[in-house]
Subunit: 189 residues, 2 copies
DNA sequence: GCTTTAAGCTATTCAGATTAGCCAAGGAGA
DNA sequence: TCTCCTTGGCTAATCTGAATAGCTTAAAGC
């Protein structure tokens, strides 16, 4: 029996890919093992079980999203930065629904705070977007929470097929970004 | 063995209460049965299994939220209606996190559309809020989706403990409502 | 009281997570 | 190259929870 050359990272990556395909709730040690050409118990040599695997997927997703956000915002400010950040989140959720879902399903299992740490990087990008609007310092935390809420809400609703008439979700998204930009500009000092 | 006097509604109600306590993901036929003083297989006389139970909880939640929204909006319009609707959703998610979570977890199992139908009632209330702002008809669908996104996002983030510094979430919520009101008024014809 | 329906039970099967313990692959050093 | 030791994969087994089958009797209608 030749070795498969697995390690925690490759197992997590395979599991994340599977989660995107079949949904995080359908993820099992068995399917991951099958995908990797290995038997389920073998996975326990690399990860600490399903809960740990799910947590690792969440951290991976938060890290990836954080990276993409940072990249997308290079050299942009104001409305441009807002649009780029929003589009990045939306695209990520659409392309990686399973991974993204893991980030809020695995929250309880984040005792060491690894996930929180990874998520903070996305928060930093959102904060950078807002900085461009020159809000009152006391308003920033509120605006940050609003931005998170809108993007998280829009992304998850779209991903879970929550919108009827899927047709012009694009238009709605653009409208929302526009709405936020106007409001934030009006709120600036 | 005296009968327990169960029926689909009472089983669903007990399961929903349990889901609020332990989380929808921890819900099992066994715990529901135990809570009702019955053995797990007995539940199959009333509901069609865990997936069906979960779906029933979702419909229950959507119906309850729809009722509360309708009540909360009696005689209100404009900013008042917006604030009331937002507060109602937020309170519902906080008080019934398990039930609320069921509404988007059970979406795939909604072949007959019962859940969609129940959710449409909450959408109708949101639409009523917006009607008070006299938006361009073509903007209404976009504004509706934004409103859903914000309320859904804010509620789920708060429920999953997603906000750090839990302290002034109240203030943030008020700020967001204010932001939406201003923006919507500016968008009105 | 008699019949019929339906609710609850026990026994069983099945799937999936997890653990224990075996055994070989493959790298490190003589 | 040969040997040792760590490590990864395997099989076997346990355990929990979902779901089905079939038995038995409560209680509703007559």
């Amino acid at each position: 029996m030749p070795r498969a050359g697995l390690d925690p990272a490759s197992v997590t990556e395979a599991a994340a890919a599977l989660a995107d395909e079949i949904g995080i709730s359908q993820l099992s040690m068995s399917v991951v093992a099958e995908r990797l050409g290995v038997k389920a118990p073998s996975l326990y040599k690399h990860v600490d079980g399903l809960a740990d695997l799910s947590h690792r997927i969440a951290v991976l997703a938060a890290t990836e999203l954080g990276d993409e956000l940072r990249d997308a915002m290079q050299g942009r400010a104001g409305r441009d930065a807002l649009a780029a950040a929003a589009q990045t989140v939306r695209d990520y959720v659409k392309q990686h629904p399973g991974r993204y879902a893991a980030t809020f399903v695995a929250r309880p299992a984040d005792a060491e705070g690894t996930l929180t740490l990874a998520l903070d990087r996305t928060l930093a990008s959102f904060a950078a977007v807002l900085r461009g609007y020159g809000l009152e310092p006391s308003d920033e935390i509120h605006a940050l929470r609003m931005l998170r809420s809108v993007l998280h809400g829009f992304g998850t609703l779209e991903a879970s097929d929550g919108f009827q008439m899927a047709a012009d979700v694009e238009a709605s998204f653009a409208w929302v970004v526009e709405f936020l930009d106007r409001g934030l500009r009006a709120s600036s000092l």
